[in-house]
Symmetry: C2
């Protein structure tokens, strides 16, 4: 079976951890062991992953270095995070595969994701990134850098950037070619670096935005023609009435039901919402099966005994 | 013809420039135009590049962020720089290729370069990286981090790391597969992330070292079976008696002559030495032709009318 696995941030950077490279590597090794378990069953696996904490750290480092170093724009920082996470993931996967005697190549393809310059998200930035500032700093950054700032859950002010809809990947052919050759391909990390086609020059240029990694995963799953899209996070699956006494984990959901729940606002915008939207899009565009579940139970999730399974 | 182009740092970051992302992009666009010129003549081109200034900036940013962020080891910083430079190069090349109507894929393959744990370089770190420190800071870093520090040309103290010999690439198959498919492949950026096979666990792990990008280029040229290795820098070619009144630019050099000049110490260790060593290795291992010349005159260098040409 062909499978695209979308890994959440916790597969790389343990929540509440220290964020050292050694700790990230240990977390990634544990992730790799689980993934090699399913590759060992004969499945062809492609991977994508989030980059929120890592790109936040890179932005923070440049911010602390300001006055000494030229700050790098968000697209360049995103590319750095793809290099960093891709390296750690591919090294770990190569090691785990070799240790169980599987001869498969692993490759990270640096990915640019095309978004529309007319995407309404550009008029309405919603995605908080980077560190917290106090109100005076926030006003200053709005004025100096032209950033949009919000008061984030009263923890302070944060920069918000647009989260436009992914339309295509500039590296589609490369990603598909490698996957079809049997390579464990890592692509569209952090949703890919967002680029738009400049109307004047007709050139693709990076933009200060963030693409939801699960929506990018749905697009990638369609491109690769996989049989199964697995969105793995630190959740058992999709809950209805989450956080209320009557909350319940759903084991199966039709796309029609999912669309209704999405419209009802059952799933929070920043977390479960885009995951459910992603699996729905994948199935609506012809995908057979998708599941949202936990990395810890990847085998059971693959077997349909855990997680929330989505069907036509 | 199949060509591997090794780009020097000046192809990306202009010497004496400001180091902003916009300036790097403008420099890269000018580089891409020249490269697309030779791709347009029907040649299959693969690319590799240096990363010295970029990885230096990344190290500096983490250093300035110490106490706030966990510092990242050199291998992880190198992977970040591959992501960053690969992104800017591939975007620019894709744009230039499209603008002249050439339909070719461009892809960056994040590359790990295997070195031997027994490489003598590990006992003798020689490659200065990162910023300058005063003597007290240098002593402190030696004690705290176990770094080797040197007094660099009396400009201050700098960290030195080993520069071991590149042996192979973990991503060989992927790089070769894409190049053979006609992709403009960008690989082994900054010489690749150096990894060694841990004798106990048999796993590949990153090491705190830097691989010379020209020696990595020679290895890559052999892997890809190219007809020509072009090492492009901000030099017209190889000089004999460089810096002395009798200095002269050499237009042709046999491998035998080059070996003799290398033994005589004609070429400085940090700059022209590894470039000449790289072309010699490439030809000694069966390569037909190699040239060291300037990016500005890439067409003439390709035609044999500029640069220093090496032959068997």
């Amino acid at each position: 079976m062909k499978i695209l696995v979308a890994l959440g941030g916790n597969a790389i950077l343990r929540r509440g951890g220290t964020g050292t490279a050694a700790e990230q590597e240990a977390t990634i090794d544990s992730t790799s062991k689980r993934l090699v378990g399913i590759i060992g069953e004969g499945h062809d696996v492609a991977l994508t992953h989030g980059n929120g904490p890592q790109v936040g750290d890179i932005l923070l480092a440049y911010d602390l270095a300001k006055g000494v170093l030229s700050p790098m724009p968000l697209d360049v920082c995103g590319a750095q995070s793809q290099g960093m996470i891709g390296y750690m993931l591919q090294q770990s996967l190569e090691n785990e595969l070799k240790s169980v005697g599987i001869m498969k190549s692993v490759a990270t393809v640096l990915t640019q994701t095309v978004v529309k310059a007319t995407d309404r998200a550009f008029a309405n930035p919603t995605k908080p990134i980077g560190q917290f500032y106090d109100e005076a700093e926030a006003k200053d950054l709005e004025r100096r850098n032209g950033w949009s700032m919000i008061n984030d859950s009263n923890r302070g002010f944060r920069r918000v950037v647009p989260s436009p809809n992914p339309v295509s990947f500039l590296e589609s052919e490369t990603i598909k070619c490698l996957f079809d050759e049997g390579t464990v391909v890592i692509a569209a990390g952090g949703g890919g670096v967002p680029v738009v086609k400049d109307t004047g020059s007709r050139r693709y240029i990076g933009v200060e935005a963030v693409i939801d990694k699960d929506l990018a995963a749905a697009l990638l799953a369609g491109l690769l023609g996989v049989d199964l899209l697995m969105i793995l996070a630190d959740v058992d699956g999709v809950f209805l009435n989450y956080g209320r006494p009557e909350q319940r984990l759903v084991d199966k959901m039709s796309v029609q039901e999912a669309r209704r729940y999405l419209a009802e606002g059952q799933f929070p915008a920043g977390s479960m919402g885009p995951k459910v939207e992603a699996v729905v899009r994948f199935i609506e565009s012809g995908g057979k099966r998708a599941v949202i579940g936990s990395l810890e139970r990847v085998e059971a999730t693959l077997g349909g005994e855990a997680g929330t399974n989505f069907y036509q």
